[in-house]
């Protein structure tokens, strides 16, 4: 049973994959944008932080569910 719980929690955390890819793409594009227009850096940074916070939410959902799986099923 414990093994199954561990596997379930691991699968739930796979949601972090999407957040990682999303934040990676966003940061890459932001770097390109800053390289092209250095004067717009502060605006780009704000948008990037906001986008990262939104993308991170999926990872957080996965984490919370993994935690619930571990704590509730035990």
């Amino acid at each position: 049973m414990n093994t199954l719980i561990a596997i379930g929690a691991g699968i739930a955390v796979l949601g972090a994959l999407g957040a990682g890819i999303g934040i990676g793409i966003a940061t890459g594009k932001a770097t390109e944008a800053v390289a092209r227009q250095p004067e717009a850096e502060s605006k780009i940074r704000n948008t990037l932080i906001l986008g990262c916070a939104l993308a991170e939410a999926t990872a957080i959902y996965g984490f919370v569910i993994a935690l619930m799986v571990i704590v509730m099923l035990k």
Binding site: L50, A57, I60, F63, V71
Partner: protein
Amino acid sequence: MEELAKNLMEELECKTVFTIPVLGGLEIKESIVVTWIIMAVLILLSIFLTRNMKIDHISKRQAVAELIVTKLTGIVEGMIGEKGKAFVPYLTTVLVYIGISNIIGLFGFKSPTKDLNVTIALAVMSIVLVEAAGIYYLGVKKWLHKFTEPIAIVTPINILEVFTRPLSLCMRLFGNVLGSFVIMELIKMIVPVFLPTVFSLYFDIFDGLLQAYVFVFLTSLYIGEEIE
């Protein structure tokens, strides 16, 4: 591991502080008491900062108050734009409340936003405001017509959005606060010295304020979309 799970569950559970004996006993939870504390601090601070206001030869206290108000309303106005000026005071209040309740864990209180009921209430308030703004600015007919835009076939999705928007708002806030809290507890358990301070800068302060910003940003985005 067993002990940690027990500790976490204890921390996450919102205890009833006392019961008001009306309507068969109203339970007052811990999150409500902490909310009252935040409200009291904010109200007292506002009264203290806005006493004896003058037009010229302003005191230092008034200068600080003006700085705070201009900065905060400036942030919200930048998000919602010229059209939604009427919503700026409400959104600023929500920003200040969520921001303070996210970082109040540093002072030994239990964050109200760690209670799912609080975030649900905030999200419901947001969506009611969004739809009410739509009705007020466009009128019932145009507001109803907005559900069929851009084409009639997306109407079910548009109606579903009324429910998924508050759901994602409240789950995002709750999940982030809960997640950062759990990570902080784990770090404290593994390395009790120095390292928690560094991580608490990110997880408690930066992430807490960022989530308050995101919540208000999304609400203002929805309002802006609705009154367009």
